[in-house]
Each structure stands twice: as C-alpha cells, then as structure tokens.
C-alpha cells in the first residue's frame, strides 16, 4: 500500500522530561518519526515539554510546541492547529496514555482525527491486563497465572489462590513504578497500596512469581497488510525477577536452542498479529531454563527502550520503519537504508554480540537502596559491540565510566565470601562483579547457577575473563597470553594494572605483535550484502573495514550513558556539533556508547564508533582515523575529562586547550586569573584531609560549601553548617581515592545567575542571562531557572564584563558556562566550565541562536563577527519568559531524600514559555508533573526554625486562598501565633494519630518541608518526605519554590487556560524585542527572602 493521502497534518506527542523508565530513547524515536513524516511531505505538529531534545528543535517539525504535556493543553494545540491525524506510539508510555485518553474521551472522533499506527483497540489489548490475558487465551499463548485487583482485599485473595511469592505490578505505569515481589500478606499490603495509588486505572496485577526463568524479549514489527518480522531477540543475563531495564541484556539471545527460539519468535508474531500492530511492538517472555515451558510476560505496543536498543544493536531503524508503516507503507515497499539495495522486510542477522548494561544513579545517591527488583532504577544504559561475549562485556563495563576496566574490583574483593554469596542472590548494581569474584574464589559454577539461575553460558564466559585476570597477575606476560587477553577485550591500561607492566610497554609489544585495533561494520545482515552505512565497533583482527578516507575530518567525543548530572543535553550538543561539521564539509565522526540517543543513530554522523570512552579506546579510534581535530567540549564530563590525554596523543584539540581546562579547575590557577581580572569569588580554599577541612571551615565561618574538584552534577557536594557535617562528609568522600583536592567555600545565600557564552578568543557572545528561582545552595540543575534574569543594568553589565574577562583569561575558544552569585548587590563567580552545559539546548531554543553550531564553527576558525548575532549580550530583556523546571524520579528510588541541596537529583527538565511571567511559571510547574492542590485541600507545613519567619506571609496567602493548613508542633504554634489558623498534628515519632495518620487519611495534597540540616536519612523530615512521595503527594523543600507555587495558585490558572506558544513565534518575539532594557510585559514576582 502506498502512502496515505487522506491525511495532511500529523500531531506527534513526545515523551516529556527524562525520568527513570523513560529516557533519551524517545528523542531518538521522535526525531526519526518527525524527519520521516516531513520527508514524506506531511505537515508535522509536535508537542513535547522537554527542551533538551533534538526533536524539539524548531526545524524538526513544522510547528514545535514546547508546552506542558497535559491533556487540555494538547487538545487546545490540536484544535488550534486543526490536525487531522495523531501519531502516538513513538512518545513512550506518556504519549500513548495521552492518545488513549484523547480517544476514549471521544475527542479524536469528535474532531475527525485519525489515529495512525496501531489502533486504540490493539493498544488497549496490549496494555489492559485483562484484555491482554483474554487475547492470549484466544491465540493459545500461555500467560503467567495472575489476576487483577483494585483493592488490597482482592489482591490478598488472588495471592492466596496463586500461592506466594507473587509479583505485584501496577497497570499503566512506567518502569514498573510501585511494583515488587512479595512473600506474605504484610509485604503485599504495603506494595499493593502503593501500586493501586500509582496506577492510572487504579489496578494492580497479582502474578505468579517465575523468578529464575530466562527473560527473553523480541522486538517485532508488523504492517497493515499483515507482514510481520522480528527485528531482534534479546536475552537478559539476569533471569526474571529483575526489571529488564535494570538487567544486563545481550543481543541476540545466546542460550536458546533453535526450537526454543523459534517457538518464542512465532509466539511474538502471533501476538502482534492478534493485536493488529501497525508499527513496532516489544514482547517479553519467560522461558523455563530446563523445560520447554514458556510464558508471555507482557507487551509494549509502541516504541520502547528495548526497541531503541534493538535498533542500535542491529542497525535496523525501527522508529523510522514504524512511522512509514503508520502512514500506509508495507514492509516490502520500504528499502533497507543500511544496505541500500535490500528490503526492510527481513530480519537483521548479527555477526557480533551486543551487551547492554544499565547505568544506575547509586554513585550519586550513596544512601539509596541499591537492591534491584521489578521496579526500574537505572537512569540510562551503555551498549557495547564485539565479536565475543567476553570482549563485549568488557567494553560495556568500561563504558559505564565507573573507573572499572574489568571484573576485578577492589571494593568487591574486600567482601567476605559469605557476603558475596548474599550479594549475588539479593541482586544489586554490583552483582556482575560479585559473580566474578565468587567464581574467582573457586565457588563452583554449578553452585553459582543454582543460587542465581544465571545461565552457565554466561557464568562460563565470566570465568574465562576472571581466569585471564588471575593469569595476568601471576604469569609472565608472554606473547600467547597478551594475544589471548587482548582478544578477550582487555585494554592496555587494564593489562598494565594486573600485570604490573607499564601501559607504554604493553602498547609497544601489542603493536609489535600486530595486535592492533581494527574496526568492523554493523550492517544488519552479517556481511551477506554490502552496506553503505558506516557504523563501527572495534576488534583485534587483521583487516579494517573502517578505512580512513582522505577527507578533512573531526572526531566528536560523545557523552556516554544518561545519568544524573549528565543528561540528554550533552547528546543534543554532540549531535549539533556533528551537524555543524557536516554542514562545513568536514567528515564528522562521533564516538559514543549510548544506544538511546540521536547521536548513535545510523545517519546522524558520517561515521559512528560505538565504543567505550576510555583513553585507550579513544586512542585506538584516533590512530585509525587520524582526525584533523578532536572536540571534547560537548560530551559533558565524559569528554572533557579526556581532553588532557587526547591532547597528549598528538592530535589537535579544537577549542579551548587542555591546559586552560585545567586552569579553570585548578583552584590556584583559577584564583590567579580571577585576581588578574578583578573578579570576586566566595572565599575558600582547597584541602585534602579532615583536619585541614575543619580548620578552613572554621576560618571561613559556617555555613560552608564543600565539594570535590573535577565532578559533574554536584556529586558529593554539601552545605556544612557545623564541624559534624564536615567530618561526616570527609568520611564519605575519602571512601574513594581522591586524586584531586576538596574545595571549601563560604556559602552565600544570594541569587544564582548563569550564562552560557561562545568565545572566539577575542570577544564573547552571550545569548542570555538566566536567574535561578531557588537561593544558592540548590544545585543549578535542580532549581527553577528563569530567562531572562530580572537584574539591574549595572549588574547585567558586570555579568557581561566578567564573562568576557573570564573567556579571555581562560583563552576560551568555543563554549563556556559561568555561574554567579548575586549577594548584597555584589557579583561573585562560583564556577566556570569551559565546555557545554545543561542549559545550552534550552537557551539555544529560546534565543534562536544555534549556540553549538556557532561554537563548533568558531573552534574551526570562524569569528563571532562572521555571524549575525553580534557580540556581548544578545537578548537583554526580550518580552518573553522561558522558565525551566526540574523533574525528579524520586518515586523510583527508595531511600533517596527528596530534599534539594547542592547535590543534583533531578533526572530531567521541562520548559514553560510565555510572554507573561506568571503563565510561563505556571506552565513550567505544570509541565514538571506537579499536582497543584485545589481549594479546600490540605497543605502540610513543617519548616526549620530559620524559615518560620518567611513562611508566615506564604501561609497567610495559602489560607486566604482557601487551603486547609496543617503543621507539626513548632510550625503550627508559630503560624497560629501569627494569626494563621493551622491544625496542629503530632510528629512522626510521636504517638498516633500523628502526621503519618494525617497523610494516610488523604487530606493532605501538598507537603512543604524544609529540612533541618544534615544528611542523616533517619531524620523525621526524611521519612515524611519519602512517605509523601511514595503515595504521590508533591513535596516542596524550599520556600522559594513555595513562593512560585503560591503565586500560581493565587493566579488561579487552569491547564485549559494555557495559551500554547509555538517555538518559532517565540523566537520571533525574542528577535524583535531582544534589545529591551526592562520588561515591557508582566514583571516577575518579587522574592523578598533573597538578598539580591
């Protein structure tokens, strides 16, 4: 069937902010979809609240709406734009849920809007547990014994009949939020309560526990004519019981016999046929490890994280094909773009092994429970390609950037065998290394298998690696051994660490043996047809398929897995840099290992190296390509930390030099530059030991800010109020060896201002100045950021002047990001990063300046005067507001404190755009999925003593708006004394009924809790915040945020009132009003609490 001609204007719903369970994969999918639709001649209208995505670039769709993903907002856009069709299967569960709501409410029918791709009935059959089970019964596919419950009593009854242990899964949620395995009524009550609360339809599935079975996934694609294929099979190394998003996964499935494989594959095709899928669908199975029994676990009738992995693992562009199917094409009508000659109607064959390992946030959240189960906790993932399982696994481990290059890990070695045996059963993020260690200590494979049910194939291969590691430690490094370990995926620095022979010596010997790194191509067909898409992985063979071309070429180092502090923003920057290079006629080469992103899509760059980003791996790429330059500015900390090593490889660094990057990080060198420029910074010093730290802190006077140098996302950063805080901090930080000193600064409670700028070495271009809503001390990534900053001309000039001085002082070529504090009318610099930042995509979009493109061109010799944007501050006070709000994934991470401080905790961000400050703020907060309380709801206030004074006017306003106020002892007394009627409730550790009873009663719809200082999670406040998060009550931990929310509540705005603002229109307003000196429209709210 050819392209549909009955539709003209397609609405695409994106997936919104990055949260655990829904990451960059939907930017990749959405971007492919939008580009495909445009190429087919349709008009595309896109809505997505996430500004850090490629898909929300104003040229990705005809109309881009960076608007809250809210049903009323979406409806308004659809009506305004008069769209005639909707593509909803590429925006994750978020996009799909909206589509279902639009359809079920009759909105689509009423407005004659066609749903493209899989029908609503098909999606429902896949998503609704009961309908799905009925469908499976119809086609005789076995499901796991289970039932639906809508309350605890029903759940308990089901569990009795199925028999404990059972798994509880809430219906319609992401990443299995609120689910878990329970083995008795008590556990069931706890988990089922949360699950029912979290489910959109208030249902949970109670299911027979099949832990220990193999977990296998198939990614299937079907067209409207009924042609169906499976793109890829994937096998979880961790058997059923660990969420697939938290499992180590290999592709293709490696331990299934052909009979098992074909049975599951056939079942997958039967299922997509029954659901009448038109597009992509993920099917998950459990395969009994020793019998032929299997069961269907679930399906995702849409593009998913697994489909992104399958796409990148095979080279088959599922999102693009799914989009083409949605607009009418059949599989055989679509060419295979990778080979250029064959058809998309085939199943990719792979001649390599792909390994995915999740990236967990536990290095940031040191106190979080690391235990893995049915609820996903990973924020991102890495993928590695190689031609043995061993080397594929080794590459994946290196890609995680844990400073771990193999399976020999000191912290794991420190554990006793008993502890390790515990650890391999109670799975956490370190299980792989624990498995390796127990095998190393001689625990028989059979026993490890019995305990963990990890297939002996994998255990055997892990043992191969472990044996080689041990051999390196004791044997002489002869030719045979070197050859063997290199082929197992050991890099020079790791061989060096184990053998004691120096890196250089190993490199030399390796090369003299002809053991080089060569590259093979991912071609979708295991070499059967010649391919045109250059997408490579390293091996140690003799021939090289990545033959260097004689074009001028630049290597861009990517940003690796999505993690807290280094999100999709950096992929955005890498992709834009690659595009700028291609535009300039360079061969653009990217090295990255994140399967979820646009940067690793097969047609983003001229060449893609799917590789770990360690020195050794990058060196091999550089030796192969001999690029004219390397760019380390865009890939976040991953890339910038390589700059010194890369520069020592004798290749040209484009942009700011390695030496100047060091100058920005080195306290002494940086202080000297500041002094030369006459710029102030909060007083501080660098220390190594606890006693030095205490001495410095006392000299500066508390509170002080303590952090390590060379980190991203505020890792390990705290505000210390007393000696105890300093002692506790130094203990934690010294668990890992610190190469770099610890920084201690005087903490100033002022307003934070932030700029991103481009410098050509002579002048700077500052697109705009941003202001943080929350007082200094809340990490910039976690605070609400307002553009443009509302500051006086004098301060603005100072910011511009300082930025210019710092850029020149640090000889910046390309990007720099500076954070300032405005305190008592004085500007202090707190941090300078000579690289791209989290805010670059957002500020690019709202000012219309393609910052990364300009920076890339400048790095290659262009001058700012070559562009039309001028120098200095570009957008002074444009008649718009763009407000960025952070988004968190706290409900997925037990034991993580929701209190916001100097350590970054958010996983994503959203944008609110408007010409009015109040509307922009409302949009931003709405888009962040904050549930506004409504008149009559209860608000629980419990704040530290120092905040009580400032709370009074806010509480007063909330009361006058008709909210019922509750507070614990001190806060309640204080408010009542000031004439604000407040219900007192007992504290958590006091006798019931207390505040816990109050929360369970459902009366409270918002918690305002400013933490008493300290990091001990045992504290009351922590427990209170966690309880609220777990049952879905929004929590505010800063009065600055409360002020903004209160203003929104006072404004009385509703989602339906929101005026959607198209991005190009917004850019146009900025363009015409950017030279304004003062706001001509509505002024921002005044925050009397901050000393500006």
């Amino acid at each position: 069937m050819p392209r549909r001609n009955d539709i003209r204007k397609v609405m695409v719903i994106g997936s919104g902010p990055i949260i655990i369970g829904q990451a960059a994969e939907f930017d990749y999918a959405g971007t492919q979809a939008c580009r495909t639709l445009k190429a087919e001649g349709y008009e595309v209208v896109l809505v997505n609240s996430n500004p850090a995505t490629i898909m929300t670039d104003s040229n990705m769709a005809d109309k881009v709406y960076l608007e809250p993903l809210n049903i009323d907002v979406i409806k308004n856009i659809m009506l305004d734009e008069k769209v005639d069709s909707l593509l909803a299967t590429l925006g994750g569960q978020t996009g799909l849920n909206f589509a279902m709501e639009l359809s079920e409410s009759g909105f689509l029918d009423d407005n004659c809007i066609t749903m493209l791709g899989t029908s609503v009935q098909g999606i429902k059959m896949g998503e609704d547990r009961e309908e799905f089970r009925n469908a499976m019964e119809r086609i005789h596919e076995p499901c796991v014994a289970s039932g639906i419950a809508t309350n605890i009593r029903e759940a308990a009854k089901l569990a009795e009949s199925i028999g404990y242990p059972v798994i509880i899964r809430p219906a319609f949620t992401l990443g299995g939020s609120g689910g878990g395995i329970v083995s008795d009524i008590e556990e069931l009550t706890d988990i089922a309560e949360k699950g029912i609360a979290l489910s959109r339809v208030h249902q949970v599935l109670v299911e027979k526990c099949i832990s220990g079975w193999k977990e296998i996934e198939f990614e299937a694609v079907r067209d409207a004519a009924g042609n169906a294929i499976t793109v890829c099979s994937m096998e979880n190394v961790d058997p059923v019981g660990i969420h697939t998003g938290d499992s180590i996964v290999v592709a293709p499935a490696l331990t299934l016999t052909d009979i098992e494989y074909q049975k599951l594959r056939t079942a997958a095709l039967k299922i997509v046929t029954e659901l009448k899928i038109e597009g992509g669908c993920n099917v998950q199975f459990a395969q009994h490890p020793t019998t032929e029994e299997y069961a269907v676990i679930e399906v995702n009738p849409r593009l998913s994280r697994s489909s992104a992995l399958a796409s990148k693992a095979t080279g088959y562009p599922i999102a693009k094909i799914a989009t083409k199917i949605a607009i009418g094409y059949t599989l055989d009508e679509i060419p295979n773009q990778v080979t250029g000659t064959t058809s998309a109607c085939f199943e990719p064959a792979v001649d390599y092994v792909v390994t995915k390992i999740p990236k967990w946030p536990f290095d940031k959240f040191v106190k979080a429970k690391r235990r893995l189960g049915t609820q996903m906790k990973a924020t991102g993932e890495v993928m590695a390609i190689s031609n043995t399982f061993e080397s594929s696994l080794m590459k994946a481990v290196r890609s995680l950037e844990l400073n771990i290059y193999g399976l020999d890990v000191p912290v794991i070695k420190a554990l006793s065998t008993d502890e390790l045996l515990q650890k391999i059963v109670k799975v956490d993020d370190m299980r792989l290394f624990a498995l390796a260690e127990v095998l190393r200590r001689g625990v028989p494979t059979d026993k490890v298998y019995e305990l963990t049910m990890v297939d002996k194939f994998f255990l055997g291969k892990i043992l191969n690696i472990v044996s080689a590691e041990e051999e390196l430690k004791v044997s002489e490094l002869n030719e045979e051994l070197l050859q063997r370990v290199v082929k197992l995926g050991f890099i020079d620095s790791y061989i060096s660490r184990l053998s004691g022979v120096s890196d250089e010596m190993i490199r030399e010997r390796r090369k003299s043996l002809g053991l080089c790194y060569t590259y093979k191509m991912v071609d979708t067909c295991a070499g059967e047809y010649s391919a045109v898409t250059p997408y490579f992985y390293s091996t140690n063979d003799t021939t090289n398929e990545a033959v260097r071309t004689d074009r001028k070429k630049v290597l861009v180092i990517g940003s690796g897995p999505i993690r807290i502090g280094q999100g999709i923003e950096f992929d955005y920057c890498s992709v834009h840099s690659v595009w700028a290079l291609r535009e300039m006629g360079y061969e653009a080469i990217i090295a990255n290992n994140n399967p979820e992103t646009v940067s690793t899509d097969f047609d983003t760059s001229d060449r893609l190296y799917f590789e770990p980003l360690t020195q050794d791996d990058v060196r091999a790429i550089i030796e192969n390509e001999k690029p004219d330059g390397v760019i380390c500015q865009f890939g976040g900390q991953t890339a910038i930390k390589l700059i010194k090593a890369v520069s020592e490889m004798g290749v040209r660094i484009l942009g700011t030099s390695a030496d100047m990057v060091d100058a920005a990080e080195d306290r002494k060198r940086f202080d000297a530059i500041l002094e030369d420029s006459g710029i102030r910074r909060p007083q501080g010093a660098t220390v190594f030991t606890e006693s030095e730290a205490l001495e410095t802190a006392r000299a500066l006077t508390y509170p002080v800010l303590i952090r390590p140098s060379y980190v991203l996302g505020g890792q390990g950063m705290v505000i210390a109020y007393n000696d105890n805080d300093v002692i506790e901090y130094m203990e934690i930080i010294n668990l890992q060896i610190q190469e770099h000193p610890i920084l201690i600064d005087k903490y100033l409670m002022g307003v934070e201002l932030e700029v991103d700028a481009v410098s050509d070495g002579e002048d700077v271009l500052i697109p705009g100045i941003m202001e943080h809503l929350e007082r200094a001390g809340v990490h910039s990534g976690d605070s609400i950021s307002i553009f443009p900053a509302y500051i006086s001309d004098k301060i603005r000039e100072k910011i511009v002047d300082y930025t210019r001085k710092l850029a020149l002082g640090l000889k910046v070529i390309g990007l720099l990001n500076i954070q300032f504090i405005l305190f008592n009318d004085e500007v202090y610099v707190i941090e300078v990063n000579p690289r791209s930042s989290r805010t670059v995509p957002y500020i690019s979009k709202v000012t219309g300046i393609p910052i990364v493109s300009v920076a890339t061109k400048v790095m290659l010799g262009a001058k700012l005067s070559d562009f039309k944007y001028g120098t200095g501050l570009y957008a002074r006070y444009p008649a718009v507001y763009a407000i960025k709000a952070p988004v968190f994934s706290f409900e997925k991470l037990h034991d993580v404190d929701t209190y916001l401080g100097p350590e970054m905790k958010s996983t994503g961000e959203v944008l609110g755009l408007s010409v009015k400050y109040s509307e922009a703020m409302y949009k931003a907060i709405l888009a962040s999925n904050f549930k506004f309380p409504v008149r009559g709801d209860g608000i629980l206030l419990t704040v530290r003593d120092s905040d009580k004074y400032d709370l009074v006017p806010l509480a007063d306003k909330l009361h006058s708006l008709g909210f019922e106020l509750y507070a614990t002892g001190g806060t309640a007394n204080y408010l009542n004394k000031h004439g604000i009627p407040t219900n007192a409730t007992r504290k958590l550790d006091e006798q019931a009924p207390n505040v816990a009873t109050l929360i369970s009663s459902g009366k409270v719809k918002l918690l305002v809790n400013t933490a008493t200082r300290g990091r001990q999670p045992e504290r009351d406040g922590f427990r209170l915040r966690r309880k609220c998060i777990e049952i879905g009550i929004p929590t505010i931990t800063s009065l600055d945020t409360l002020l903004a929310v209160t203003d929104c509540l006072a404004g009385g705005m509703q989602p339906a009132d929101v005026k959607p603002c198209e991005l190009k229109t917004f850019e146009k307003i900025v363009d015409t009003t950017r030279s304004n000196h003062l706001p001509l429209n509505e002024m921002p709210g005044h925050n009397p609490m901050l000393k500006k």
Binding site: D258, D332, T342, G527
Partner: protein
C-alpha cells in the same frame, strides 16, 4: 592446537582446531543464522561443505540428540569465531567439540569469520582446506585445493531403501510443529494420507510436518524410478531438499515428467523444487554465494504477503527459463528477486526454494504443509 584454513585464492586464516583433527578440502559457504547449529550440521543439504557461521559465538547450549535433522553430521568442516564449551549441563547437553570429534568433522575456531564471509560474498563460494600442517607453506596446497571437485552428495545422503514412517516412530514425534502462523486446518486428524517422499537428503522436520498431520510417509531412494513410486499408490508426493547442484542428479530429473503426468499433488522443497523445474524444461544457475540463513524474506505473490524463511541453497531456478504454459513464479526473494517458488499450471503442484519446515529457522510458512495436505485431501474426495 593451531590450524589453518587456506582458500583457493591463497588467503590464509589461522585459528584453533576443534572437532576431528583431520585435514580436509571442501567447498566453503557461510550461513547467517544464529541458532540451530545442530540442525544445520545434521542437514543433509550441507553434505560436502565447510560451513562458516557468521554468528560469532557457537556451541552455547551444547548438543541435544533430538535436535538432529538426520542420522549423522554432514559437513566436512565447521568454521567459527568463538566456540563455547559445555560441561555439567543442567539439561545433559553434550559438548559441540566432542560431538564433532565423535562424528569425524574437522572444526576451526578463532577465525575472523566476518572477513571470511565478506571474502565469499565478494569472490563467490570457494574451495578451501583445513590443515594442521604448519611446516608446509600454505601456497603449496593451492594446487590440490584448486583441483578439488565437488561431487554430488545426493546418492550418499539419500536413504538406501524404501522405508515406511508413521507417527509412532519416536524420531518423528512432533516437537517442532508448534503453532503455525496461519493454520488453515488443524493437523493430525488421522486421515491416513499416504505421502511418497523422494529423499534427496530429507530433513527429519519435513517428515515430522507430514507425520504430524496424520500422514503415512514412505521415503524412497533418490533415483527410484517413478513407476515404482506410483505403484505404491501415493495420495501425494513430496520432493525433498538435498545438497548441491540439481543438474548432478540426472537420474532423479528423468523421473520428474512421470510424477508431473501422474496428476498426483506434488510439493517440492529446495532441491526438490529445482529438480522438478529442470525436469519440466527450466534451467537452474549457481548463485554467487548462495542464500543461507534464517532471515530471508520472500514475497508470496498469490497472497501478496511477505514471509521470513529459512534458506540453504547455492542454486536457483532461472525465471526466464520457466515456460509460462507450465508454471508461474509464486514467490520471489525480496532482496535479489530470485525465484523462490513455482506453481504449475493446471496441476496440484507447487514447489518452493526455501524451507517451510524451518529447523533451523522460522516456521512462518509452515502453513504450506497444510496447503499441501488440503490439496491432497481435496483430490482424494
């Protein structure tokens, strides 16, 4: 122990020996399927070949005797990137290395199988030698390698006597016939149809497909005269798969016209499809490097639908040589548009180039067996 693979063009690949330690000269082909190495090794169509696995990690789940597609292992050599050893298997699988040793098949691992695959793709199927002789310079073997002549293995792989197979035979218990995608009717309803199966190197799963659908199957040696077969009064005839060049099977080709004229429904698979085409005057040619794997899509021109199929062949029917009065093309390969199936005009005869029985590989076209049985039954009524 180290070993070499020397190709006729002089390229040498080094690796490690496994399986039997004998030197062997054979025709080197590659397959892209990732599962089912036991099925592949026991597929008689692989007789006389050195099989290269493009899939890099092989032997992962060991060997189960009930995966066998015939009574023995057929290739001369097995070439892999990385071999997995299996011991103390919880399902009592045996080890692939041991299995090949026991079956006298030479193996070589540690080979850059992708380079080998690309070489064959570019230069076509080649002769090659596996040897453990490192004392002799490789080029001295080239003359012998180039002198190697492939002879048809059909006489070797075919049954040496007529045999009657029923569903009580344990080898043919229905393990595969799981759930056809579009089952036209249910199998095994005990209609007792008698199917004559011409064994050019049949895979057990073809027999299972028939027995599982309630047929009594009689297998015949490859060169059995048609009159002897027809004398047993079969309700249908299946022309099986088998190894090598169809034109080397002259005695079998001569029977085709008789089968065609008998009016009995015929279903041809792979070599059987080629033999009938040759017997009816069409021509076949050798593909540059064959189609081998589990991922080839064919388009069923009658249904307008595409199916993923299992393939294992070097030769192909030439579309231009097919007399339109005799037959028309029913299936084409979506990648190179070669002939994948024929329907004979005015006859209950259809043949396919691919393997609807899978094993190894997908069973998406298993319904063709139902179609065949239905045709047979309809004619009987």
């Amino acid at each position: 122990m180290k070993a070499r693979l020397i190709l006729e063009d002089g390229q040498v690949f080094e690796g490690t020996r496994f399986g039997a330690p004998n030197d062997v000269i054979t025709e080197i082909i590659f397959t892209t399927g990732s599962t089912g190495y036991v099925e592949l090794l026991t597929d008689p169509s692989c007789a006389g070949q050195g099989v290269v696995m493009a899939s890099p990690v092989v032997g992962n789940y060991g060997v189960f005797s009930d995966q066998a597609e015939s009574a023995r292992v057929w290739p001369d050599a097995f070439i892999v990137r990385s071999l997995t050893r299996v011991e103390n298997d919880e399902r009592n699988a045996s080890d692939l290395d041991e299995y090949l040793k026991a079956n006298g098949v030479a193996g070589i691992s540690g080979v850059d199988t992708r380079l080998l695959t690309l070489t064959i793709r570019e230069k076509g199927t080649m002769r090659g030698m596996i040897t453990g002789d490192f004392d002799t310079p490789p080029e001295t073997f080239l003359e012998r390698i180039r002198a190697f002549n492939y002879v048809s293995k059909v006489p070797v792989v075919s049954t040496d006597k007529k045999m009657i197979i029923t569903k009580d035979d344990p080898v043919f218990k229905d393990r595969r016939a799981g759930s056809p995608l579009e089952s036209i009717n249910s199998r095994a309803d005990g209609t007792g149809l008698r199917i004559a199966l011409m064994d050019y190197g049949v895979k057990y799963n073809i027999i299972r497909m028939l027995v599982g659908r309630g047929c009594e199957v009689i297998t015949y040696p490859w060169d059995t005269p048609a009159e002897d077969v027809l004398a047993d009064d079969p309700d249908g005839i299946v022309l099986s798969n088998g190894p090598g060049d169809p034109k080397a099977c002259e005695p079998a080709i001569r029977q085709m016209r008789h089968f065609y004229d008998s009016g009995i429904p015929i279903f041809g698979i792979c070599l059987g499809h080629q033999l009938l085409a040759l017997g009816m005057g069409a021509d076949t040619y050798k593909l540059k490097y064959g189609h081998r794997g589990a991922n080839h899509s064919v388009k069923d021109l009658e249904l307008g639908r595409c199916f993923v199929t299992s393939q294992n062949h070097s030769f192909c029917v030439d579309e231009k040589s097919v007399d339109p009065d005799v037959a028309h093309v029913s299936h084409i390969n979506l990648n190179d548009h070669s002939v994948e199936g024929l329907i004979y005009e005015g006859k209950d005869i259809f043949t396919v180039q691919f393997h609807p029985e899978g094993s190894p590989g997908p069973m998406d076209t298993e319904f063709l067996f139902d179609r065949f049985i239905n045709t047979v039954r309809r004619r009987g009524n």
